[in-house]
């Protein structure tokens, strides 16, 4: 895969605060790369560097597939202008030929409200318009900060489709999000930042494996008997009783299901309390212990 951007040893400080501390990052063309981390981890700073909003104190950052477009800290639109005016003004700022305004609006499904002032737009519509603004330059590297923020399910699906299509066309996409389900659905690679340092970088599946032993919630027809059965299951540990939460390897969970059925207890639900990616996030950032 051709690289779209590469960062090595990036350090960025604000006074005494170290926002990024020796960050390495590789984004491939056609790759959707997720950037996750707790608040204050340095995600927005890193995205800002990629967009050229600031310079790092030390380190190298190479954007190998220009132009770069995108947004950090919200889509940044002017509420007194219409959607079309916002995009038309931005398109006029570019020296290079841009995508058509109407084409960009259609891409994000906002053609019907092109003549409406952005003041009346919902957060989700603004996010989509922000994405349309980024698409105007036909970017080869797209940087998006929380692009699904405020989107309803239909809007989210629309934006995901756009991002997936761009990636399929060879555009490198870096997106930050706190929604692990979005990352799992969109990203092939993910970088986890914590206190300005990279604590994980690699395929999403590999991050999920970092989750370790997951907690599973067990919903049954008879909670008291289910707790007794779980307690007697070899290799399984009861982490909570109201509701019942167990931890253990997959074969022990299989055994629990069989034993519940034999005990005449109906099993209504057996699911991880948190998703594997979220569990990995909590484990790697130390948030689990903190909570």
């Amino acid at each position: 895969m051709e690289p779209a951007a590469r960062a090595r040893g990036i350090i960025k400080t604000y006074g005494d605060v170290v926002a990024l501390d020796g960050v390495d990052l590789d984004i491939g063309a056609g790759q959707v790369h997720g950037l996750v981390g707790p608040n204050g981890a340095g995600k927005t700073t890193l995205l800002g560097l990629l967009l050229g909003l600031a310079t790092a104190d030390t380190g190298t950052l190479e954007v190998l597939a220009p132009p770069v477009a995108g947004f950090v800290d919200g889509p940044g639109l002017y509420p007194t202008l219409t959607a079309r005016q916002n995009l038309a003004a931005l398109a006029a700022l570019h020296r290079e030929p841009t995508a058509g305004v109407d084409e960009a609006l259609a891409e994000v499904g906002l053609t019907d409200v092109a003549g409406d002032r952005v003041r009346g737009f919902s957060l989700g519509m603004r996010q989509r318009l922000g994405l349309a603004a980024a698409l105007l330059t036909r970017p080869r590297l797209l940087v998006l900060d929380e692009p699904a923020n405020g989107l309803d399910p239909a809007g989210k699906r629309h934006v995901h489709r756009v991002i997936a299509r761009l990636a399929a066309d060879g555009v490198g996409v870096v997106l930050s999000s706190h929604r692990m389900d979005d990352l799992a659905e969109l990203c092939s690679e993910v970088t986890l930042l914590c206190a300005g340092r990279v604590v994980f970088s690699g395929p999403v599946a590999k991050l999920a494996a970092e989750a370790g032993e997951l907690g599973y919630g067990v919903l049954t027809s008879d909670e008291a008997r289910a707790v007794a059965v779980a307690s007697g299951t070899t290799g399984l540990r009861v982490a909570g009783t109201d509701p019942l939460v167990v931890r253990g390897p997959a074969d022990a969970l299989d055994d629990l299901v069989v034993r519940l059925v034999h005990a005449g207890v109906a099993l209504r639900e057996l699911a991880p309390v948190v998703s594997p990616l979220e569990a990995a996030f909590l484990a790697l950032t130390g948030a689990e212990e903190a909570s």
């Binding site: 990629l50 380190g59 190298t60 940044g76 007194t80 005016q85 931005l90 700022l93």
Partner: protein, 445 residues
């Protein structure tokens, strides 16, 4: 190991589309559109309505001539605008031009699109200054049109009593409006500075208005002339010197130069402080105290150096209001207005030379020094009665303001400077010698 950082290199957006974008943004909010509409309509409506009243705003310079000519109405509007209207306009436009991006959270977005803080600053500054100029032009044209259409383009009596023909009056009125552009731009530049330094703070928005109000308060006091002339607000008053014969251009040129110095310095400070800003800092909410000091001290220094330079390079000293100047000014105005009165009363024509008017003034009695502003000036005007060797006298009470403008109120004899009406081509009007406006050039040696 420390290595060089290599940000993505992209050519910045051209200036013209950036300027267009800023203009679109500035003119899109309803309050700015309403402001523009008000600037186009309100001055004309004001002049039309006030000119139709029996009672005129005689406490405002040229107010007493609003029945006589449409140009006087425009000058009344100009005087009002200079006091508070233009500072408020600059606050609303220039004081918000940078802060608006902070409020909307659009800085990063704009920077990604334009790719050059320098270009952003240039486009914003040009857009703000253009809109301010547009608003001033709108007020000026509206007031002139309102006056000319409702009262007519008649001759105008100047501040020394001489009559300007309609064409000359039109040119001088337009020149007066042009002369307030430099101080307006100076306040607009201060607005840019406030907007950059103070961000979303209401003080950032109001800085030009607050500064203008402070300077107006200073100008009301009998402060030394060099300090008065070193303040850009003085240029808002100096246009009055155009309405004398010959024109008092000294304060006007100095005011223009001071205003341009302020405009350049404030814009340069705003530029430097803007470029220092870190746009990735999400917690930014106005610059710190050091930046505020870095913005305020140079301007205060400019006022100080300006006052010093004017003090050294010009004959200005004290309050600039001296007995001899008041006497000369009143005598000149009296001579001109006597001619006008003679014409209105269909008396034989007389020239100023024949009248050889002179004045003898005293301020506050024998125990008070005859200098400085105050409403306790009392003058006796003497002149040679045409066709005789007799000398006529008339008494005036003068209220002289610190800026050099005065109102002379006739105190007898009644048939000379009393309150009676005369018939003029534009209708009945008060005796021109009853109450008159005058102007003392503070810079005159």
């Amino acid at each position: 190991m420390t290595t060089a950082y290599a940000p993505p290199e992209v050519a910045p957006a051209p200036l013209l589309p950036g300027l267009r974008f800023e203009l679109v943004k500035l003119l899109s909010p309803w309050r700015v559109r309403l402001l523009l509409l008000a600037c186009l309509v309100a001055p004309a409506a004001f002049v039309a309505v006030v000119s139709a009243q029996t009672s005129l705003p005689t406490d405002t310079v040229f107010g007493r001539w609003m029945h006589a000519t449409g140009f006087a109405g425009s000058l009344v509007v100009l005087a009002f605008a200079c006091s508070w209207g233009l500072p408020l306009l600059t606050s609303l436009v220039a004081g918000d031009v940078f802060a608006a991006e902070d409020r909307l959270g659009t800085w990063r977005h704009l920077l990604v699109a334009v790719r050059s803080p320098r270009r952003i600053f240039a486009a914003k500054a040009l857009a703000a200054l253009s809109v301010v100029v547009l608003l001033v032009v709108a007020i000026g044209l509206s007031s002139v049109l309102g006056g000319v259409l409702t009262v007519g383009a008649h001759p105008l009596v100047g501040l020394d009593g001489h009559t300007l023909g309609a064409g000359e009056a039109a040119r001088t009125v337009l020149l007066a409006w042009l002369c307030v552009l430099p101080p307006t731009l100076a306040l607009a530049a201060v607005g840019l500075l406030g907007s950059v330094v103070l961000g979303r703070s209401p003080m950032g928005l109001l800085l030009p208005a607050v500064l203008a109000l402070t300077m107006n308060l200073v100008l009301l006091l009998p402060v030394p002339v060099p300090l008065r002339l070193a303040l850009p607000s003085n240029a808002f008053l100096a246009w009055r010197g155009l309405f004398t014969e010959p024109a008092h251009t000294g304060p006007l040129l100095l005011g223009t130069a001071v205003s341009l110095f302020w405009a350049v310095l404030a814009t340069a400070l705003a530029y430097v402080l803007f470029l220092r800003r870190d746009f990735t800092d999400l917690a930014y909410d106005g610059a710190g105290r050091r930046a505020i000091a870095a913005a305020a001290l140079p301007l205060a220094g400019l006022a100080g150096i300006g006052a010093l330079a004017i003090g050294v390079l010009t004959p200005a000293s004290g309050t600039g209001i001296e007995k001899a100047k008041v006497e000369a000014s009143l005598a000149t105005a009296y001579g001109h207005l006597y001619r006008l009165q003679a014409a209105q009363l269909h008396r034989p024509a007389v020239t100023e030379a024949q009248l050889a008017a002179s004045a003898d003034c005293d301020k506050g009695g024998t125990r008070v020094v005859d200098r400085g502003p105050g409403h306790d000036w009392r003058c006796v005007v003497s002149w040679h009665l045409p066709g005789t060797s007799a000398v006529g006298t008339a008494i005036y009470q003068l209220d002289v303001t610190a800026e050099g403008r005065y109102v002379a109120d006739g105190d007898g004899p009644k048939e000379v400077n009393g309150n009676f009406w005369v018939r003029t081509p534009s209708g009945d009007a008060p005796n021109p010698l009853w109450q008159l406006d005058g102007y003392v050039d503070l810079l005159d040696d």
